[in-house]
Amino acid sequence: MYYNNKKLALSFLWIILGAVLMGLSVAEVLTSSYYSGMGGALLAVGILQVIRNLRYRNDKEYQEKIDVEYGDERNRYLRMMSWAWTGYLVVLIEAAGVVVALVMGQHTIQIILAYSVCLIVGIYWIVHMILKRKY
């Protein structure tokens, strides 16, 4: 069962959070347009998820389709591999970016990218250690 009460509650949380951010932006408590944009996005995602969740509960055919789509082991494998490759490529691209920024004399960007690479590698090792204990 892919969509459950927990996911529905989370969707309502996105809606509330989105509405609060938008409300604060309209009331000009938060002045940056970044917050209203973020609020709108959260609101849209929340509403979409609630619609999907309700359809999942009422439409048996849709329920079956979603369960197969998310439960299918090949799809899970593909998702896992996609994330693995994404992480790997991000580290390589950022590492190349560090060198480019160094050559171009963009030291702030260079430092941000270098720390970002360190953070990703650090997270990788923490996750790896946790998984090693688990399996």
Binding site: D67, V68, E69, G71, D72, E73, R74, N75, Y77
Partner: protein, 68 residues
């Protein structure tokens, strides 16, 4: 890893989508298995073999090859 899924499925007149539904996977998974592009988990291999009334070794042909 090679397998005889397509051969056995055709012998029994079962369509890919029917087998997929019975196994609780997508039709694309059955297609990828038959083409040898995807190796199943031991659970799915067991489920498929059990469905055909065979052993895993009867359906899946294990080869001592290094995977990429």
């Amino acid at each position: 890893m090679k397998n005889r899924i397509e051969e056995i499925r055709n012998e029994r007149g079962i369509r890919q989508d029917e087998l997929a539904k019975l196994m609780g996977v997508s039709r694309q998974t059955i297609s990828s298995l038959e083409n040898g592009r995807y190796n199943p988990s031991i659970l799915l291999a067991h489920k498929i073999a059990k469905f055909f009334g065979m052993t895993i070794e009867d359906v899946f042909i294990f080869e001592d090859l290094q995977e990429d």
